[in-house]
Symmetry: C2
Subunit: 342 residues, 2 copies
């Protein structure tokens, strides 16, 4: 996280290809759900007028296209996979924002605050169903295998969110439980994204290796996300300052700090056990808590673990005999994930 990394030009080009296909797919939804989805993706304002907000990093579509190239087929073979994983990702964002009561994402009001809970629920549902439609339209056994991967992945994602919700009402959460939750919420879909293109190309062996790569990458991603949720710059993250602490979220750095024992861990545990203040502006207090997490070793552990997972991700590529440019691009993605600041 000391220096930010940028993505290679080929991947940025892939992102544009995937976004056009995604937009065409979302355009198939009924009028009501289309409006909510277009707003959520940043393609329109709440009245449906064109807008040009950032629609995110598109890491998952980029991986899906790379995945096809890894199996030595044109990246377009991975396109239905790219569209599907991004739809599942955004289904989860729309529903999670509502469940978590988050009012802002990517510097904009979240869908449920603009259209109300009912329409946000429904638009999320529509995106999940559309994701399956898109893959099942790919003829032959490859489309079915990719759809099977997507359905299993969606279930893991939902399980991860269920665990996350359950953590809120629990006083103690272990690092292992938190890692299991993060595997479901983040790793499963990044692994699916990394594997789906190869799956659509019919390369089972490459798909398995890339799934492993994506799994480790997902944990690195979540660790960085959790670090940014405490120490990130709101101007870059699009989230309120110290947002995860404000929500008393049992994130990975926090659970690692709690597990360290020692006086800082005890003070942190004591603070987490107290009811949240309603006063929204206790920034000084939150900064003190962030310092406790750091003193208890939560920050350095998360950094080191993110780095370790990033290395495991690239090691999973060994022996797959990938084209050199694809291998380089996959490593660039791993660097981008661990060094991103937004």
């Amino acid at each position: 996280m000391t220096t930010s990394a940028t993505l290679p030009a080929a991947l940025v080009q892939g992102r544009e290809v995937a976004e056009a296909a995604l937009r065409a797919a979302v355009g198939r939804l009924d009028e009501g759900n289309r409006l909510v989805a277009f707003y959520h993706f940043g393609w329109s304002d709440a009245q449906g007028r064109p807008a040009a907000a950032s629609s995110g990093k598109a890491l998952r579509p980029i991986l899906a296209l790379l995945s096809a190239r890894a199996a030595r087929v044109p990246q377009d073979v991975g396109l239905p996979g790219a569209v599907s994983v991004e739809l599942v990702h955004n289904f989860a964002l729309v529903h999670d924002d509502l469940m978590d009561g988050d009012r802002e994402r990517r510097h904009r009001a979240t869908a449920w605050t603009v259209f109300g809970p009912a329409r946000a629920i429904l638009a999320g549902d529509a995106m999940l169903a559309l994701a399956h439609q898109v893959l099942l339209e790919v003829p032959g056994p490859m489309g079915a295998a990719a759809a099977r991967l997507l359905a299993d992945t969606s279930q893991l994602l939902i399980r991860g969110q269920a665990e996350d919700l359950s953590f809120e009402s629990r006083s103690e959460v272990s690092v292992d439980e938190c890692l299991a939750m993060a595997s479901g919420k983040t790793s499963a879909l990044l692994a699916c994204a990394a594997a789906v293109g190869a799956q659509l190309a019919g390369s089972e062996q490459i798909a398995v290796g890339l799934h492993q790569y994506g799994w480790h990458l997902g944990l690195a991603f979540q660790l960085v996300d959790d670090l940014l949720g405490i120490w990130g710059d709101p101007a870059e993250t699009g989230k309120p300052v110290l947002s995860d602490l404000r929500k008393r979220k049992k994130s990975l750095p926090v659970t690692a700090a709690l597990a360290s024992g020692g006086p800082a861990a005890e003070e942190l545990a004591e603070w987490l056990g107290r009811p949240a203040r309603t006063d929204p502006d206790d920034e000084a207090e939150l900064r003190r808590i962030a310092a406790l997490v750091e003193t208890a070793g939560g920050r350095s552990w998360a950094h080191a673990e993110a780095e370790r997972r990033s290395i495991l991700a690239t090691e999973a590529l060994d022996g797959l005999n990938l084209p050199a440019d694809v291998s380089a691009d996959l490593q660039a993605v791993a660097r981008f994930v661990t060094r991103r600041r937004d």
Copy 2:
């Protein structure tokens, strides 16, 4: 609706087979979502203790098993289809109850009132994803074709609910628009249920014919449902008396009454345009409105249209050369749907 009909014994036996398979499938969900789903299906109370509440008519699983028999394969071939359509149906119920603010279903508190909105959203998501998993586990092209049908159907269901939500904020809704909405919300899934067994058996032609049967049956079903929503006995429907009028729902009998012109239609339109009373106990007023719908012809039209759709459903079976017992059972289902009182 003058006399209630019961289902043939073979179908009741099929319902038990399907329920056991459904329960096994739902048992695969993570602990948190499993509890919400088990409660929703009436298999457990809110604490997870076994319960024996009615889990509904199971019309869709029954149709899915019949559909396999129609294609002259054992009904168990249709079992993954039976489980999947019932999962999609219940995904929609759990989400719709929350979106519509309904607090009671089948004489019990709805899932969102017991577990909160977040967990109800997530359990619905889990059921939708599980429905696709179950069908995609069926090997070969038949599983994929059935999953494609299910994904397309889910999207139609979601579209129907989106239209239903949009009707709430509109002052005028035509009978055609209301029929299109009902086709999405009800016909699409009954058609899928009727076709999915034959699809799993690989009988495309039978699947197409049964899809047509299910589509008409679905409209008959919705018309009867709408009649029960106004004139049904709460002891049998499990919903509050005059519930649809209480919610000022633009149901099929109401839109037909509005379209008839005449003084009763005008009075009805005037009432619908007034803001809803907050006083919950204006039953006399609601009875007067129900009488207006009847005077304007909404009730008799809905009865006649349900009957006509039921006949169209059974006519769709002509030329399919179905086994005699299957044909008789499908006709019994059509009678059951139009004559049911709960």
